[in-house]
């Protein structure tokens, strides 16, 4: 089915908010070093699924998961899994750029400080490497002590990406990472994603179907908690197999 192994595999995964079932028996393989996009109308479960991949939903009262999500073959919902360790491996970037009210340097250094450096690189090196990976280094290298909040929206989002990369995750989850950005910044982030996929596995949730079509290798369409269709992006956007997918991506509803 693809050229690379599954980094993440959801197996009959269901998710409940109290009595409401937000995801129904979802089976989905996220390929390593590929970008997987999740699309669907509001309330379809795509963000729930994304957040389930690093157990961000755990803190919601009454939330409950069934089934398995395998990360490199290990169920992340198994008892005894260290959630902090999981979130180190599976980083996340949110819709609104949310830098800490700290300097640019400290924003990126935050994760490694909390989790501890592995000793191979100094903090300066980690910060530079992360900012370079996020394509922000050249713009901020002379103002590292300025507040992260002083940056433009697009720069702030790249700072958040750098912050997520600083802990050297294996998977990067992106929840509508460009919806608060202007088109130029959006294209920069998309270009960046393309570069990052060589080293990371990326899962993105987006309302912008053109973005999903532009940026991803695989696309899953969710509707009312069901994974309706999951295919190579070029296939899904040119000849979807399911009528509901076609109706959604041609704008017949949603």
């Amino acid at each position: 089915m693809g050229d690379s192994e599954a980094k993440i595999e959801a197996v009959r995964f269901s998710f409940y908010y109290g009595k409401r079932q937000a995801l129904k028996d979802v089976n989905l393989r996220v390929k390593e070093h590929q970008i997987t996009a999740l699309i669907g109308p509001s309330g379809c479960g795509k963000s729930t699924f994304l957040r389930a991949l690093n157990r961000m939903n755990d803190i919601i009262p009454g939330a409950r998961a069934e089934g398995e999500i395998m990360l490199d073959g290990q169920n992340i919902y198994a008892p005894g899994v260290d959630v902090v360790d999981l979130r180190k491996r599976v980083g996340m970037v949110f819709q609104q750029p949310n830098p800490f009210p700290k300097t640019i340097f400290e924003n990126v250094a935050f994760g490694p400080r909390v989790l501890g450096l592995d000793g191979k690189l100094s903090m300066d090196e980690v910060v530079e490497k992360s900012l370079r990976s996020a394509a922000l280094w050249d713009e901020v290298k002379d103002v590292l002590n300025k507040s992260g909040l002083a940056l433009s929206g697009g720069q702030q989002q790249r700072l958040c990406i750098a912050r997520a990369l600083a802990t050297e995750p294996e998977v990067l989850l992106m929840d509508e990472p460009c919806s608060a950005l202007d088109p130029q910044s959006t294209l920069r982030i998309e270009e960046l994603m393309n570069e990052l996929k060589a080293r990371y596995t990326i899962v993105i949730v987006t309302h912008n179907m053109q973005q999903a079509a532009r940026v991803s290798d695989w696309t899953g369409f969710l509707l009312l908690g069901d994974l309706v269709e999951y295919d190579k992006t070029a296939e899904l956007f040119s000849r979807p197999q399911d009528k509901r997918t076609d109706d959604y991506i041609t704008g017949r509803f949603g």
Partner: protein, 223 residues
């Protein structure tokens, strides 16, 4: 289901209407060119030649609309396939019109020369081609892949008629070399019609693509 993209839907509908208008222009060109050959109607032949300019213009107008829709609406999936199908079909239609124009030019060349023989199989080929064309555009409107596939079978009949025309005209030429010029012109006419019917099968393949998303050659023609 109520569509939030009503105006886009309307544009797609207009595109389909435009395609049908172009289709009927091409049908008319085929019918009139044969009429002008059969009845030595030079005025009608000239009319077909003149009208071909309008058909070419129509094709560019439709292409322009397709480009605008792609640029402004970012169509996807079945909507995208409609536009891609239209873009391809107008090329085939335009080329069929060129063949019709070619036949009208032959009618002008023949002028008032005495007829070699009464035309029987060529009008049949023409009628068959017009019929295939009309049905292919119906299949497009109805999103009917089965109908499109079945039209391709009719191309064999056109090919067989062409064989027949070719053989018959060959005997004329063999018996009397003085007929060679006139007979050769009629063979051109047959060839133009054979090519036109082939173009219709291309249209049918586009209909199958539109409906199923699969691009494949469904009609293997003899010629």
């Amino acid at each position: 289901m109520p569509s939030p993209r009503e105006s886009f839907g309307r544009h797609l509908h207009e595109l389909q209407d435009d395609l049908l208008v172009m289709g009927s222009m091409v049908e008319k060109a085929l019918e009139r060119s044969m009429e002008s050959l059969k009845n030595r109607n030079l005025e009608m032949a000239h009319q077909v030649i003149e009208d071909d300019v309008k058909i070419n213009q129509k094709r560019f107008d439709i292409e322009e609309k397709c480009v605008e829709l792609i640029a402004t609406q970012q169509p996807m999936a079945s909507d995208l396939r409609v536009i891609i199908a239209v873009l391809n079909i107008i090329v085939d239609l335009e080329r069929i019109a060129d063949h019709a124009e070619g036949n009208a030019k032959i009618a002008v060349m023949i002028g008032k020369e005495p007829p070699l023989k009464p035309l029987i199989d060529l009008p049949r080929m023409n009628q068959k081609t017009v019929d295939m064309l009309r049905r292919s555009l119906d299949a497009f409107c109805n999103r009917d892949a089965d109908a499109a596939r079945s039209i391709c079978g009719d191309d064999d009949e056109v090919d067989n008629l062409y064989d027949q025309v070719f053989r018959e005209l060959l005997t004329f030429m063999a018996e009397d070399p003085k007929t060679i010029t006139r007979a050769t012109r009629l063979i051109w006419v047959g060839h133009n019609l054979e090519r036109s019917a082939d173009r219709v099968t291309n249209i049918c393949e586009r209909v199958v693509y539109l409906v199923t998303g699969k691009m494949s050659e469904i009609c293997v023609s003899k010629y």
